[in-house]
């Protein structure tokens, strides 16, 4: 067992660090949950892509570097330590791309992935519906067979960044007569500006249009935009859902960097006699380190040919709770300045704590609520009996 990196990995780290030092914008970009910020972040994706940093772990033919998961983790550590912008393309990169790698055709990969990597096409996830959140398999939006493709109908909800994104991927009921709710679903991709699509932005807790509702009225999708077999959508979606909860969505670098910033804030501002606050800062530092080490262990298992299954639920709960604790602690350190929202002139850290706090509050809800993750852990990792759900 060791935690040492090879010389090549150290060199990779140095290369990433140098590149980021030269390219990360000096002043933070506006929030990516606004039209202006979205455009600026799309431009940043293009910059990343130009030097092949947008998707380092992808094969070179799609714009990546074919890097190992470990190098990807290293890159992410450097990325967040450098204070680089949030990733506006993350839904596509973290959710759709792994699905295409596993279930997509060669044609789909070639057509879709490079333009995703460059930020030219930004994707939204259209899974949830007003009546289907945790019980996703109860979904009602439909895909009806037509000449050369499918006609989509119904409503999707809570689609992150769909207010500004270009295309979406999601699950649709294609065979209403199939026995169980999980059967007869099809996984499809569609343009958000297609005929029959209405996008209604929804303000999130701080009012920014971070997600949207989608109303679909006979939206035509050609056969080439079905992922996997028609009717097998659930299996296709679930085989990659672990990515969302697991490490690709929230790499440890994000939290180690935030814990570093929190420690600096504590040294700068804290009353040394306030040991209660000190303990919470320490817990955030320890939590970030634990998450990093847990991820290294996971990456080592993957490198040895293992796989990550229900463990991604452990991951999901841990990072989402850590994220909130970290930001709550920062707000307590900031005292009355904590309420200044990003955009406020005097907002500490250019408002990054305020924006980070708002974002962290959603962590236990999206990517499968933490209650559902606890069920998964209890049933699949601990072997407890299924209860009524």
């Amino acid at each position: 067992m060791d935690l040492d990196f090879t010389e090549q990995e150290d060199a990779f780290r140095a290369e990433a660090r140098d590149w980021l030092a030269a390219h990360v914008p000096g002043t933070p970009l506006p929030s990516l949950e606004t039209a202006e910020g979205f455009a600026a972040h799309r431009q940043w994706e293009r910059t990343l892509f130009t030097d092949r940093w947008s998707v380092v772990s992808w094969p070179e033919e799609y714009g990546g570097r074919g890097s190992s998961i470990l190098r990807w983790l290293i890159f992410e550590e450097e990325y967040y330590a450098a204070g680089a912008p949030g990733r506006v393309s993350q839904n596509g990169i973290n959710l759709l791309a792994p699905t295409l790698f596993e279930h997509g055709t060669q044609e789909q990969c070639t057509r879709i992935l490079p333009r995703m990597a460059s930020g030219e096409v930004i994707w939204a996830q259209a899974w949830s519906e007003p009546e289907s959140g945790s019980d996703l398999a109860s979904l009602n939006a439909t895909a009806v067979r037509t000449d050369g493709g499918w006609l989509l109908g119904g409503q999707k909800a809570w689609s992150s960044r769909a207010a500004f994104a270009d295309r979406a991927f999601g699950l649709f009921r294609s065979d209403p007569d199939a026995g169980r709710p999980h059967q007869g679903l099809t996984y499809l991709m569609f343009p958000l500006d297609a005929d029959g699509v209405t996008v209604r932005p929804i303000g999130r807790l701080d009012g920014k249009p971070a997600f949207a509702e989608l109303f679909l009225d006979d939206v035509f999708v050609p056969d080439e935009d079905v992922i996997g077999e028609p009717g097998q959508g659930w299996r296709v979606a679930m085989s990659t859902a672990g990515n969302e909860r697991g490490l690709t969505l929230r790499s440890p670098g994000r939290f180690t960097a935030a814990a570093d910033r929190l420690t600096a804030l504590w040294r700068e501002r804290a009353d040394p006699a306030d040991t209660a606050l000190r303990d919470r800062v320490a817990d955030a530092v320890i939590g970030a380190r634990a998450y990093q080490l847990f991820t290294y262990a996971g990456a080592s298992r993957l490198a040895r040919g293992g796989s990550i299954g229900a463990e991604s639920s452990l991951n999901k709960i841990f990072w989402s709770e850590l994220d909130i604790a970290l930001h709550e602690t920062a707000l307590d350190l900031l005292g009355p300045y904590g309420e200044l929202a990003d955009g406020a002139e005097e907002a500490p850290g250019h408002g990054s704590w305020a924006e980070g706090y708002t974002f962290s509050l959603a962590g236990p809800i999206y990517a499968g609520t933490n209650e559902i993750q606890r069920d998964i852990i209890a049933e699949r990792l601990l072997g407890l009996p299924k209860g009524r759900r």
């Binding site: 420690t263 040895r304 841990f318 601990l382």
Partner: protein, 331 residues
């Protein structure tokens, strides 16, 4: 980078687990608590044969180590089986004597510690280590007072602990073995080893509490179904697993830090507080989910439950550990 135990380390854990599982360990714990050290000493000999104490002793003194990672692996198993005795104190004493730079003292004590002939206890007279555990059962009790190392003349009065199988004592008198800055440095290293071993022990204890509780909630029925199908029960156990799973890598990385000679106080502190809190939370969950049955000392579960809080607070309270994590260099 390969942050996984190798096959040999996993096999070592399995061997110890099997050996302890086939011994009447709970009987030894109960005997130890009543002042009968016989079965505990017999178990100690087996552990020594398996190489547990040799892991803390360098090769030139008949040991196999020092091997902090293997120690962490071993202590996880000792915790899993709630093995009684000054296990942590013995390996910490070995670490102290190894680091002292006093060849004669090392030659006197390390081989007999490695072979299991000598059970040691250790007390640093610091806030982290105010008493010597099980000094009455030990063959040698070492006391560090500032920059002075003594071999105590007697165990001193033993005080009852919340865990009857732990017997804290205040050793008295004795002869001076060494004095000076080497003592201070060696004691700091010993404290790190003790924190690591305690953290690993807590981790194993927590895993045992979780395993026993899962077994119980699967078979105990109320309202016509297994209580393990209730979500409130499930979620509490999921959180128990979560805390233990994230404590383990901290324990392993602290061991690696000790092995590589890197500054390790912050890493052992992080491991200690996290594993200690996880095990303590596991004990609360185990008690709650066993209901009144869990609140009896007749059920063996109590042997694990009663150890959890002392392990959390020995060799570095959570507050002391958290303060240490933020000391020194930037994160």
């Amino acid at each position: 980078m390969r942050f996984l135990l190798d096959d040999e380390q996993r096999e070592f854990a399995r061997t110890l687990d099997g050996m302890l599982g086939s011994y009447d360990t709970t009987g030894a714990v109960r005997a130890w608590a009543s002042g009968d050290h016989g079965p505990g000493r017999a178990l100690w000999d087996r552990l020594a044969q398996a190489g547990v104490f040799a892991l803390a002793v360098p090769e030139q003194h008949d040991g196999l180590g020092p091997l902090p990672l293997e120690l962490a692996v071993a202590f996880t198993e000792l915790g899993r089986h709630a093995v009684p005795g000054p296990l942590v104190e013995t390996v910490a004493a070995a670490a102290l004597l190894d680091r002292l730079g006093d060849e004669a003292a090392a030659a006197d004590w390390l081989p007999v510690i490695a072979s299991g002939k000598t059970v040691a206890s250790l007390c640093l007279l610091s806030p982290d280590s105010p008493y010597a555990l099980d000094a009455d059962a030990a063959d040698a009790v070492f006391v560090v007072d500032g920059d002075t190392l003594r071999l105590a003349a007697s165990a001193g009065p033993v005080q009852p602990s919340a865990d009857p199988a732990r017997r804290p004592a205040r050793p008295v008198g004795g002869t001076v073995l060494a004095r000076g800055p080497e003592v201070v440095a060696a004691a700091a290293y010993a404290a790190d080893i003790a924190a690591l071993a305690t953290a690993a022990q807590a981790l194993g204890l927590g895993r045992a509490l979780l395993a026993r509780t899962i077994e119980y909630v699967r078979q105990r029925t109320q309202f016509g179904v297994a209580i393990g199908s209730f979500q409130a029960v499930k979620h509490r156990l999921a959180d128990t697993l979560l805390a233990l799973e994230f404590a383990q890598p901290l324990v392993h990385s602290a061991a690696l830090a000790l092995a590589s000679g890197r500054a390790s106080a912050r890493e052992t502190a992080a491991a200690k507080v996290t594993a200690g809190e996880a095990a303590y939370a596991a004990s609360r969950t185990a008690l709650q989910l066993h209901g009144a049955l869990g609140y009896t000392d007749e059920l063996d579960l109590s042997l694990w439950i009663r150890k959890a809080r002392p392990l959390r607070d020995a060799w570095g309270t959570p507050a002391a550990c958290r303060a240490r994590v933020l000391q020194g260099a930037d994160v």
